[in-house]
């Protein structure tokens, strides 16, 4: 669906995006991650043709973005606004018209979206009369109008209460089922874990992680296990460290230790074990680790990144 190949962008002598290559497959939800100032917005602006790359290539279904392709892509920026003095319906209809829809169809789709987002009762109200959360939902509607094939969302959940977050997630799931591809930029790592198939992490313009979310987490798993037990476990052979983590324990095993041997040793001690499961680190932990340690920046150029080379070269593309 979307292919970004060796894209580079610099302002003055500062490289903002450095040789970034990735691909978003049709129908997937793809996460674009990175700390503030990593170059995510510049990358998105290049994808949406708001700014042009210095070098590299961005293609949609194998060809560069053309004038006629614009309605296929929709972008909800992090810093976003609406025409405050227009009615909600008029504002949405206008966005639909800009997507190339005839006025009547844009109006019909606007009404349908407002119903989907439980805003139909506010259709005739001025945007400025709505609460911040409601305005946020109208902005999401403005990105969804025209049934774009590629939906680029930058921090779409900010400002939404948990109920509306769930509502929006349901809408995203429905759109995905209909074939919409989503490029999601967010700092809410739990949402990435729940919603996204694959992710790209960039840091200081460089690709540092790229691949399936599940694989990335697995890759950073440290031969550690979560131990749920009644009572306090004592050290047994093969366990390098044992730390308490709230109501359970995290046991990091020696590289050559087998989990079943360790478990049997605890059972032999008479420990009432309720659970013993491999521990996969949350994405947030990986994010902090990778960014703080500057992983992937050591080669002086961007990707394919050090930590995920096999995934890039493997069958992910």
């Amino acid at each position: 669906m979307l292919e970004v190949q060796s894209v580079r962008k610099s302002y003055d002598d500062r490289v903002v995006v450095n040789d970034v290559t990735f691909e978003v497959a049709a129908g997937e939800i793809f996460a674009l991650l990175g700390p503030n100032g990593a170059g995510k917005t510049t990358l998105i602006r290049m994808i949406t043709d708001i700014v042009r790359p210095d070098s590299g290539r961005i293609t949609f279904s194998g060809r560069a973005l053309r004038e006629g392709d614009r309605p296929r892509v929709s972008y909800l920026p992090e810093e976003r606004g609406l025409y405050k003095k227009l009615s909600v319906l008029d504002a949405l209809t206008y966005f639909g018209e800009l997507k190339g829809l005839p006025t009547a169809q844009a109006r019909r789709e606007s009404v349908a979206l407002l119903e989907e987002f439980e805003l139909a009762a506010w259709a005739r109200k001025q945007v400025q009369a709505l609460s911040k959360g409601m305005q946020q939902k109208v902005q999401l509607c403005s990105a969804l109008i025209g049934h774009p094939e590629l939906l680029i969302l930058d921090e779409p959940f900010s400002g939404l209460d948990p109920i509306n977050v769930q509502l929006f997630e349901d809408v995203l799931r429905r759109r995905r089922a209909e074939g919409t591809t989503v490029l999601l930029s967010t700092h809410q790592m739990n949402k990435v874990e729940q919603q996204c198939d694959r992710a790209l992490l960039i840091n200081r313009g460089h690709m540092v992680l790229y691949g399936r979310v599940r694989d990335l987490r697995q890759q950073y798993a440290e031969h550690a296990f979560e131990l749920h037990a009644d009572g306090t476990p004592r050290p047994v052979p093969g366990v390098r460290s044992l730390e308490t983590a709230g109501e359970h324990w995290i046991a990091t095993l020696e590289r050559d230790a087998h989990p079943s041997t360790v478990l049997q040793a605890w059972l032999a001690q008479g420990l009432a074990v309720r659970g013993f499961v491999p521990r996969v680190p949350p994405l947030e932990e990986i994010f902090v680790h990778v960014v703080r340690s500057g992983l992937g920046l050591d080669r002086g150029r961007s990707g394919p990144p050090t930590v995920d080379e096999s995934l890039v070269e493997g069958g992910v593309r």
């Binding site: 302002y11 003055d12 602006r45 949406t48 043709d49 708001i50 700014v51 042009r52 210095d54 004038e67 614009r70 309605p71 892509v73 929709s74 972008y75 909800l76 920026p77 810093e79 976003r80 606004g81 609406l82 025409y83 405050k84 003095k85 227009l86 206008y94 966005f95 018209e97 800009l98 997507k99 190339g100 902005q139 403005s142 990105a143 680029i152």
Partner: protein
């Protein structure tokens, strides 16, 4: 440029409709001419009432005649105003065109001035002892006028003349002396070489009309470009533009706004012009004044390219400045160019082909208003504006407008994404080079 005309027209329609539906637009549309009209009607009415009162109320004049030449003069007389009854401001045929004057002799100037102070007389006329040799007289009155010393002394000059000549000439000669010059017809050569009576009223109207067209042109450019500045600044401040740029190109956005908000400016000024023409149709018909079609066509051409130049500059400014307040501050300096020809309007009247008028009509930022003012004054003075100057002026203005649009399109795209402070000149130059 990368644009689709239907999308640009969609934006133009949206900008136009949203703006003209705003209460602020309707207020501007109706209130501006209403204020001009009401203030004009009130001030004229007040002046006319005042003048009528002054002309019809009997005037008592204290006469201090040190020369003794006017001792035999009548104690009162009626001053017949020149021309018909209509010479009285606001007068109708039924209005008496006669001013009763009472001459009250005083032996002493100090007493006469006391009398003026007390309000018993309206004026004190002092005739010097050596009047016959020097012609010196002094007139005292309470002055309420500003920047003028033009008291209406015509009745007194008539009385002095008449009394001086009393017994020296027959009454017919005296009357002719008094009205000498009034019946002198001034013939001047018209543009086509014929000799015709100079018609001041027609010339005044003939000048005012193109001047008004020039003023309306400046207003149309001003209003349209101000709407552009406001619209873009607001959109930038409320961060709408980035969402839109995914659906439309900056070029489409720019063209749509130029068309839509230019249309708003034109609607506004068009409505004012139509109302003005409708209300003054009678006067124009009486003065036999018509606007040449060529002038209207030239005005239209200047509006299109002049608006394009200022509109592109204002759009760019709106995109570059971080907020409306800063954008407005900078734009006020630019607007000065557009209206500056009005400051030197007298130079245009005196010398429509002088170096200042020619220079300003060729300099693109002042070309539109300057050239129309020149054309207007030339119509009256009989001067001819060379066609090549109009062509050169329009060409330079068009080239400048195209340059502004092309540079504006590039800066507009990047400027909309800038937030913070207004970029300085080196930054703007760098942006121009950015892809």
């Amino acid at each position: 440029m990368n644009l689709s005309l239907p999308k640009a027209l969609t934006i133009a329609r949206h900008e136009y409709l949203v703006t003209v539906r705003r209460p602020a637009f309707l207020l501007t549309l109706l209130l501006t001419p209403a204020i001009f009209l009401l203030s004009g009607v009130f001030s004229t009415r007040m002046q006319m009432d005042d003048a009528r009162t002054q002309f019809t109320r009997a005037r008592v004049v204290a006469l201090v005649d040190s020369s003794g030449l006017f001792a035999e003069g009548p104690a009162s007389f009626e001053y017949r105003l020149p021309g018909s009854a209509a010479a009285v401001p606001g007068g109708s045929p039924s209005t008496p065109a006669v001013l009763p004057v009472v001459m009250r002799p005083y032996a002493d100037q100090a007493v006469a001035l006391d009398s003026l102070e007390a309000g018993h007389v309206r004026q004190v006329l002092v005739v010097a002892e050596d009047f016959l040799a020097t012609g010196r007289t002094r007139l005292y009155e309470h002055d309420t006028r500003v920047f003028t010393s033009s008291s209406d002394d015509r009745p007194l000059r008539h009385w002095l003349t008449r009394e001086l000549l009393r017994g020296q000439a027959d009454s017919a000669r005296i009357e002719r002396t008094l009205t000498l010059g009034r019946s002198m017809d001034l013939y001047t050569q018209t543009r086509d070489g014929a000799w015709a009576i100079k018609d001041d009223a027609r010339e005044l109207t003939g000048f005012l009309l193109p001047f008004a067209v020039s003023f309306l042109l400046a207003m149309a450019i001003l209003m349209g470009s101000q709407y552009l500045l406001q619209g873009v600044s607001e959109e930038k401040e409320s961060r709408i533009l980035e969402s839109m740029l995914c659906s439309v190109t900056p070029d489409e956005l720019m063209l749509g706004k130029l068309l839509g908000l230019g249309g708003v400016g034109l609607t506004l000024v068009g409505a004012w012009a139509a109302a003005g023409l409708w209300s003054s149709a009678g006067v124009l018909a009486m003065a036999n004044v018509t606007l040449p079609a060529s002038l209207l066509l030239i005005a239209l051409a200047y509006f299109v390219v002049g608006y394009l130049l200022y509109g592109a500059v204002m759009l760019t400014l709106g995109a570059l400045a971080p907020n409306l307040r800063e954008a407005t501050q900078i734009s006020s300096y630019l607007i000065l160019f557009n209206v500056s020809p009005f400051w030197v309007a007298t130079s245009f009247m005196n010398a429509p082909n002088g170096p200042l008028a020619v220079g300003l009509s060729l300099f693109p930022p002042t070309a539109a208003t300057s050239m129309l003012m020149r054309l207007g004054t030339a119509t009256v003075s009989g001067a001819t504006i060379p066609a090549w100057e109009i062509a050169l002026s329009l060409t330079l203005l068009t080239l400048s407008a195209l340059l502004a649009v092309l540079a504006g399109a590039r800066l507009f795209r990047l400027g909309m994404l800038l937030h913070g402070k207004t970029p300085n000149l080196p930054t703007i130059l760098r942006l121009l080079k950015t892809r």
